[in-house]
Subunit: 303 residues, 3 copies
């Protein structure tokens, strides 16, 4: 593993290695053991787009490995403002660090970065394309919370067309033989090519629907993603759709008793706050897997 | 001490413990001894409002204890921009750190943060409410510079209604039996309820006046705070008041010979720059106590 | 060396000591040896003006020495916004750190900072005045890439009037007996006083021209700096000049076979991208000397 740009770059063994390493990292973290394997190493966190959780969890992962972090979270205060190309920025920053993490609004930017950098590059989200480390942490979360991935009915709900994490996640889940239920409003379905690719490659079941009730009924896991309202020209239309696909206590009466609900957060109106107090709500537990999984990824890439 | 939200949460023994620990920290710092007690631990500095000195001094305190720091100093570049609630932000960030420091423009925000976080929370200033760590460092500064707190005549000068540090400080000083002189322009007096509470609780003298000459004459310590001009609708009115309550060399002719002057900084027009060169000026010495006092606070909260 | 404000503050022995120390740092970095000499020490990076490379390379230099970094890269989020003077900011920040690095849009600001700070201060660029650490790294780069400085024909090309690094660099190169060729568009020549000072002090050859062909022909090193278009009232005029002085593959046919090209980056139109693939292009190699040279500077100032 030289770079981690798309989940497609990983073989099943690679993913298993990361999940197992994450397990060891989590145990060590909990025991309070101090890890210093990255002492003297510097990670560059290049966030060309705002982020709290992804940025913080990479930062904490590197710090908990004994390393250090440089970076920016607002490209306005860098030379990019002066008109520098991404390629020049990367060829510069790589001289100051041992590992690059990049989030960028343009699809393909991390791939370009990896092609000009001699240091390992990790994609922390590019436009509506990929977000492989989030998918790995979600996979890990499901495995820890449900004990397995295989044969689970996993429903992905929301704007599947634009949510980058979903594209990485569908691929991952199919690779580990989950049954996929894709629930989205009309017009926001995931691209057909993506579904086709996954079906052909892993030969597993994918059930697609616009009906939230039909989709939810048999799910073991419900993964909710937010409607990207900024993509709607009519805010009233966005609000109407959000309400129609909102997860409410009422809706959950239809659900399996041991359903767990995940969300990549931040959440807005798509998830009723009354759900927080139910046994189904696992989205805040999910977050805590971000650090051990990213520690495992850094560990694997820097060995 | 699980959290440090208001100075009211502390008993006299708690405060004494912090001051004594700060003393030890200061001695160790000066000797160049390297402290590593926070190795592997991460502090999250969440500044929802601009700050240089408080943010830097928490950061340096954690670093000098061998720990690391993540955080933001501009909420615009976080998910808060996307409309996330404070409660969700805290439930997320606490997964990435061992300790949270929060500054927020809304009164009560740190208390809310503490109520949803399983990690310790320190209030680094909320609106015009409380700023307990600044009060502790001021208390420490007075003790170091004057040798004691008890029976000192301590004058607090300026816009006492809006300066959050004053509310924490009055409480602290009264707890250690100082005599308080509160000098403020008409209409900017501290709330009556606050004075009443302190009088009843600690049974000590509080002298209130609008006359800067009357207040200053008997003071051993003069603590100046800036006029918050942004709260005036008429800038001319603000300037006039600032001039009337300005500390000048002329005014100091009325003062005790060993008067010391403190200020939480930044200062604007309320403190004549010619005072910097007098023996009374101690506001730049005061700053240096920020790091050892905050090291002591972190140490006590993380044991 | 208490502070490093202008290259004029350094004697030849000081510069040699830095270059030799940088050599040792580079060897140690490459061997993966972990340096901890700055453990427990804090560097404050005060960037009152945007920067990627200078800020990152100081940060990484301090981290690779085992130290920590605090700072800001956007003065809007500090007390400076509230109207604090630079002098007050420095007298405050120096209490939180062991070493200050400052970049400021106003000429002379770092000198002022040094005069009020009891901690060492390094100038990381002030207006169009000085940028001594960049000059030192360029000097080091030339020495490493060409094996020597003495008697090399070194051409500096571009807007020499406003490029601060050029003022520091000319002085450095003359000190080490290089022959200088100054090529700039009419009206953007370096100030006469600067040329006069260097000639008198070091008694070396300086050839000035507006003709890029005449200047380039005999050069061993070509150092290109960008046209500061923001200084032109007419963007068309700026573009015309940029084109007239652009370094192109065609132009390089006139050059010595072993010419090397340097650039302080970021670059815009002044350097044809087709040059990147030629053996002359050394500007991305140049960057990697930033960390060891700044490690050497910090090491020398903190001993």
């Amino acid at each position: 593993m030289d770079d981690l740009i798309s989940i497609r770059d990983l073989k099943r063994e690679d993913v298993e290695l990361i999940l197992n390493t994450a397990d060891e990292m989590e145990i060590a973290l909990r025991s309070g053991k101090i890890n210093t394997e990255m002492r003297g190493r510097v990670l560059a966190n290049l966030f060309f787009e705002p982020s709290t959780r992804t940025r913080f969890s990479f930062e904490t992962a590197m710090l908990k490995l004994g390393g250090s972090v440089i970076g920016f979270d607002d490209p306005k205060i860098t030379s990019i403002e002066k008109g520098e190309t991404l390629s020049d920025t990367i060829k510069t920053v790589e001289k100051y660090c041992d590992l690059i993490v990049i989030r960028h609004p343009k699809e393909g930017a991390p791939r370009l970065a990896a092609s000009v950098s001699s240091k390992p590059v990790i994609n922390a989200g590019d436009g509506s394309n990929q977000h492989p480390t989030q998918a790995l942490l979600d996979l890990y979360a499901i495995k820890k919370l449900k004990g397995k991935i295989k044969n689970l009915n996993i429903a992905l709900l929301g704007d599947l067309r634009h949510a980058r994490v979903m594209k990485s996640l569908i691929y991952c889940l199919a690779m580990f033989d989950a049954n996929l239920i894709l629930i989205s409003p009309m017009g926001l379905e995931i691209e057909k090519e993506m579904v086709q690719e996954v079906k052909e490659k892993f030969n597993n079941e994918i059930f697609q629907t616009n009906d939230i009730y039909a989709g939810l009924r048999m799910a073991d896991v419900l993964y909710v993603c937010r409607l990207q309202k900024e993509r709607f020209s009519d805010p009233y239309e966005a609000k109407k759709l959000e309400n129609a696909y909102k997860v409410t206590p009422d809706l959950l009466k239809q659900a399996k008793d041991d359903l767990i609900i995940l969300h990549s957060l931040p959440r807005l109106g798509e998830l009723d706050r009354r759900i927080d107090d139910t046994k189904h709500a696992k989205y805040f537990d999910q977050i805590q897997f971000g650090v051990p999984v990213r520690m495992a990824i850094i560990h694997q890439m820097m060995r």
